[in-house]
């Protein structure tokens, strides 16, 4: 018998913890889908390592949220329906080819790196401690994705074409990284999180450097997709959750 989904009262802090944790877990899950399929053994290890970092970050954030809402980290990860997930749409899109996977990791990490660096000064002590760990890990992710994008963009005609296509595909999903709502604003004013909009310049500079070395063109900012932070997702999230949550939904409370 399937387990009943949980519904959660989200204070601004809990909502924020879900937004960060859901980003990390969903991206970590997507990267873990490469296990056994990566183009080289070293890349197999790298993608699995990065996935592990992200899932570890998510675990800490869920545990913290759970102490407020009265849930375990597993309940928060496995018993929320798609409409209760707060990740940005960028991280839930399918992996596509290797270029899409790398471009997505770069676009996300170029935001997450300055975000966690700034958040390590948060007035919320536990969040600050998690940010201080995440910052160091994210710096590695950013460098790894950047080096790959440069190799792909400045590689063969085919790898260049695919890298550019990946950027063009993902670009409309980057606006959501910097968007804020009233719940975010309350936390920004309280000194709990940095204002994502203030990180855009750093993001632009990081990407500008990497794209020029990769001989890739920066896509034009146009219509930006959004909705994930409020629980309006692409169809892809439901499929991902069906696989990720299957065990706990089918065998409630299973441990190993």
């Amino acid at each position: 018998m399937a387990t009943t989904s949980i519904a959660i009262q989200e204070s601004p802090l809990v909502l924020q913890l879900f937004r960060r944790a859901d980003d990390a877990l969903i991206l970590g899950h997507r990267l873990s889908e490469w296990t056994g399929r990566a183009p080289a053994l070293e890349e197999e290890l790298a993608l699995a390592n990065i996935a592990l970092d992200l899932i570890g970050q998510a675990r800490g954030l869920y545990s913290h949220a759970g102490t407020i809402t009265g849930h375990t980290e597993d309940q928060l990860a496995y018993l929320r329906d798609a409409g209760a997930w707060r990740n940005c749409l960028l991280v839930e899109l399918p992996n596509g080819d290797f270029a899409v996977t790398i471009a997505r990791l770069l676009l996300f990490s170029a935001f997450a790196d300055p975000f966690w660096r700034a958040a390590s000064g948060s007035f919320e002590a536990t969040f600050a401690a998690m940010a201080a760990k995440a910052e160091k890990e994210t710096a590695y992710h950013l460098r790894h994705a950047g080096e790959w994008l440069i190799r792909l963009g400045d590689g063969t005609v085919e790898s260049h074409r695919r890298a550019q296509a990946a950027l063009d595909l993902l670009w409309p999903y980057t606006g959501e990284l910097f968007a804020t709502d009233a719940a975010d604003t309350a936390l920004i004013e309280a000194g709990v999180i940095p204002d994502p909009a203030s990180l855009r310049e750093t993001w632009n500079v990081t990407l500008g450097n990497m794209l020029s070395r990769a001989t890739l063109a920066r896509p034009v900012d146009g219509w930006m997709q959004s909705g994930g932070r409020g629980g309006r997702h692409t169809e892809h999230l439901g499929h991902l959750l069906a696989e990720m949550q299957h065990l706990q939904r089918t065998y409630p409370g299973a441990t190993w």
């Binding site: 070293e42 890349e43 290890l45 790298a46 699995a48 390592n49 990065i50 592990l52 970092d53 992200l54 899932i55 570890g56 970050q57 675990r59 800490g60 002590a125 536990t126 600050a128 401690a129 998690m130 201080a132 760990k133 995440a134 160091k136 890990e137 710096a139 590695y140 460098r143 790894h144």
Partner: protein, 162 residues
């Protein structure tokens, strides 16, 4: 008072034998993840901190601490603290020597963004040559990167500077 001190000393002696499951030459004290040991009544309070957010060894280390102390007849509560965040600077000098002897290049001493991003050429733990190259910055565990020695041609792991 005497009893309290001796309980703590006994616990510390037991913890001397608890090692990292992935790098069994290092004790948790060598690694710098054992942050505090104190006594509350009849119970020992052990505080540890994770190396990496996703380090899968943490659950196992917690279990091993609990088991080792229980075997010595000591009741313990284990807490995990995140702040201040662990850095490779906390790896003891003994730990660095043990790592190198085990075949893993120890991290450079100062953890910083420069060290994190600098071109890393750790000395080969097998022949000592500094003529080495990085194969991959992600190795067999989250805390290690993969290198090759150009002098003796052997591949080796290096502990990442964090």
């Amino acid at each position: 008072m005497v009893a309290t001190a001796s309980l703590r000393d006994r616990a510390l002696a037991v913890l001397e034998d608890v090692v990292d499951p992935e790098i069994p030459v290092l004790t948790i004290a060598d690694l710098g993840i054992l942050r505090d040991v104190s006594v509350q009544g009849d119970t020992v309070e052990v505080t540890i901190t994770p190396t990496y957010s996703g380090c899968p060894a943490m659950n196992m280390i917690t279990l091993e601490i609990q088991t080792a102390l229980a075997r010595a007849g000591i009741d313990a509560r284990i807490h995990t603290t995140l702040s201040p965040a662990w850095t490779t600077d906390w790896l003891s000098d003994a730990g660095r020597r043990k790592l190198a002897a085990f075949g893993i290049a120890p991290p450079e001493h100062t953890s910083s963004r420069r060290a994190l991003f600098g071109e890393a050429h750790p000395a080969c733990p097998l022949c000592g040559s500094t003529d080495t190259e990085q194969i991959s910055e992600f190795g067999s565990t989250a805390c290690k990167s993969l290198h090759r020695c150009r002098a003796c041609r052997e591949p080796f792991d290096a502990f990442k500077c964090h």
